[in-house]
């Protein structure tokens, strides 16, 4: 990230390309790069996904643990996002360099999944006041080639979709102490209801236009972008502006509308692909990092 330096000439070239609806890599303004996604590639986790889009490479691992519910929300489980901007991605992330970006991404994820409409924390409760599931979502950014938010959003959704939580056969209170029995069959799992999980769409404002899925170079030409999370049922669960620029009110509403259309389409495509992958069953060959 730190290495990419653009001259003003290069910036103007990109800008003109976007004005003409013909970007440097031949895409149109509202076109995504092709993505590669693989789920359940890490057997040690409860759910995992790896996503490639352009040079961006994201790995998501999900761990599920038993925990005690918060005292003020006794019948809700917990969902936590942790993002690690590793220094392998870019030298700029060395030390504490990636912390701000990491906080930003995990905040957007938390906001996106906050509404009950998207993720109902009550489904994670086992025994009110005593036991609940806690889902840790760990996002590892291995390489960044622009459009981190969208990539992370898709990868997280895919990983959650692949998550298998052990089935609990009996949960009783024994003298005030919780007693929990897990199913003997390790394949006997429950899956999360991912039907209304959000995905994240970034609309990057460059010049007078806005584009989706910007590359690193394009991101550098932009002063402001809108990050929104879209639920499959057409609701928006979070919006936040990034960058140091401001946006006109009309542009803002137009960007939202465009984001809505793109979000719904992207979501449908993602779910279709995940379904297709799932049909291969457990015998599917895992490519992992060998590809």
């Amino acid at each position: 990230m730190a290495e990419t330096v653009l001259s003003s000439g290069e910036k103007i070239f990109i800008l003109h390309g976007i004005d003409a609806d013909f970007r440097n890599d031949g895409r149109r303004r509202c076109e995504y790069r092709s993505m590669e996604i693989e789920t359940k590639l890490m057997p040690q986790t409860h759910g995992s996904a790896r996503l490639h889009i352009g040079n961006t490479d994201i790995l998501v691992g999900i761990k599920v643990e038993l925990d005690v519910p918060h005292a003020d929300k006794p019948n809700e489980g917990k969902l936590e996002f942790f993002v690690d901007c590793s220094a392998t991605a870019t030298p700029a992330f060395e030390g504490k360099g990636g912390d701000d970006l990491a906080t930003e991404i995990s905040n957007v994820l938390t906001a996106a999944y906050q509404t009950r409409n998207a993720f109902d924390l009550k489904t994670l409760c086992i025994l009110p006041h005593k036991k609940c599931w806690k889902i840790y979502v760990d996002v590892l950014i291995l390489q960044c080639g622009g459009n981190l938010f969208d990539a992370v959003g898709i990868a997280v959704k895919a990983a959650l979709n692949s998550t298998e939580i052990p089935k609990i056969t009996a949960a009783t209170l024994d003298g005030g102490e919780p007693d929990i029995e897990l199913s003997d069959d390790s394949y006997d799992c429950i899956q999360l209801d991912t039907s209304n999980y959000p995905i994240i769409i970034t609309l990057c404002k460059i010049g007078d236009n806005y584009i989706v899925d910007p590359t690193l170079e394009e991101e550098m030409c932009s002063t402001s972008s809108i990050v929104m999370s879209m639920l499959p049922n057409g609701k928006i669960s979070s919006v936040v502006k990034l960058g140091y620029g401001s946006i006109q009110f009309n542009t803002f509403t137009k960007m939202l509308q465009m984001g809505e259309i793109i979000g719904l389409r992207l979501n449908k495509t993602l779910m279709d692909v995940l379904k297709e992958e799932n049909q291969f069953g457990r015998q599917r060959r895992i490519f992992g990092f060998l590809k």
């Binding site: 005292a71 003020d72 701000d100 906080t103 930003e104 995990s106 905040n107 938390t110 906001a111 906050q114 509404t115 009950r116 409409n117 998207a118 209304n196 402001s224 809108i226 929104m228 639920l231 049922n233 057409g234 609701k235 928006i236 669960s237 979070s238 919006v239 936040v240 502006k241 990034l242 960058g243 140091y244 620029g245 401001s246 946006i247 006109q248 009110f249 803002f252 509403t253 939202l256 509308q257 809505e260």
Partner: protein
């Protein structure tokens, strides 16, 4: 958790007494009456704003804002050179730190910044950046500290306004003032400038109603330039509702702007008269 040797520590676990409520709060929330608000406002009415400038004598610029029971203090300090940066920055930077006082919320806050406060700090920074002439102080950083003394809802909006007036008070070159307001959405109710209980209601979704709009939008804008400087939305809302709500917020932001301006002018006039 490791013990912090630099503070006096209480017991390892302690619980707020609010959780031992006699009545079920959840059922109370559902019954919330939307036809009238607890402070007798109409749904589109904002709380009265009280703004005072220059309350922190040690700071370069400062402001105190009160919106209903929400109380926020902000102070801005002299620019200082950017440290630990390799190379020269052609633009200045704004560093924001947002903190809730430990006693400001229903639940006691710990002394370290939590995730929410860190997020608000970043939002505050992005809100102010479009308003400040960053090119006027290259390689320098202006520190903005915000402390919420009492959070009775819309504290982010209050913090944004306090910060923008404090920056102006400190004499930091700016393109214009930033004003902000919050709206809570619950079904087809639009609650301007929600209180903390209203915020809590807007954050929850009633059972078995998927097609239900709920959420909170905070919008900061530069009314003098008709620009949006930051939007922060959380909840589950459809696009049309967002559009309608942001229109209301932009209008509100425009209305607030003269209040901030007048307050700044008054302070300057007072200073001027004293010098005479």
């Amino acid at each position: 958790m490791p013990v912090d040797q630099r503070r006096i520590n209480g017991p390892e676990v302690s619980v707020p007494y609010h959780i031992y409520s006699d009545f079920d709060e959840k059922s109370d929330k559902v019954k919330h009456d939307f036809s009238k608000r607890s402070d007798k406002r109409t749904n589109s009415e904002m709380r009265k704003i009280f703004l005072k400038i220059g309350i922190v004598s040690q700071a370069k610029g400062s402001a105190y804002i009160e919106m209903g029971n929400t109380k926020v203090v902000c102070s801005v300090f002299d620019p200082r050179e950017l440290s630990n940066k390799n190379g020269y920055c052609t633009q200045g930077e704004i560093y924001c730190e947002f903190k809730f006082a430990p006693f400001s919320c229903q639940k006691r806050k710990i002394h370290q910044q939590n995730a929410e406060e860190k997020q608000y700090s970043l939002i505050l920074q992005r809100t102010l950046e479009p308003a400040v002439c960053l090119h006027e102080f290259p390689n320098f950083q202006v520190d903005v500290y915000v402390m919420v003394l009492d959070n009775a809802g819309s504290s982010l909006a209050a913090a944004i306004m306090a910060a923008s007036t404090a920056l102006a008070n400190a004499g930091v070159p700016m393109f214009g003032l930033v004003t902000a307001s919050t709206i809570g959405i619950y079904g087809n109710h639009y609650l301007m400038d929600p209180t903390d209980t209203e915020e809590a209601i807007c954050n929850t979704q009633p059972d078995k109603e998927d097609d239900f709009n709920h959420g909170i939008i905070t919008l900061a804008s530069l009314p003098q330039h008709n620009q949006i400087s930051e939007v922060f939305l959380i909840g589950s809302i459809d696009t049309n509702t967002i559009k309608q709500a942001t229109e209301m917020l932009t209008a509100a932001n425009k209305d607030i702007c003269p209040v901030l301006q007048q307050c700044l002018v008054k302070t300057i006039m007072k200073l001027h008269n004293e010098k005479k």
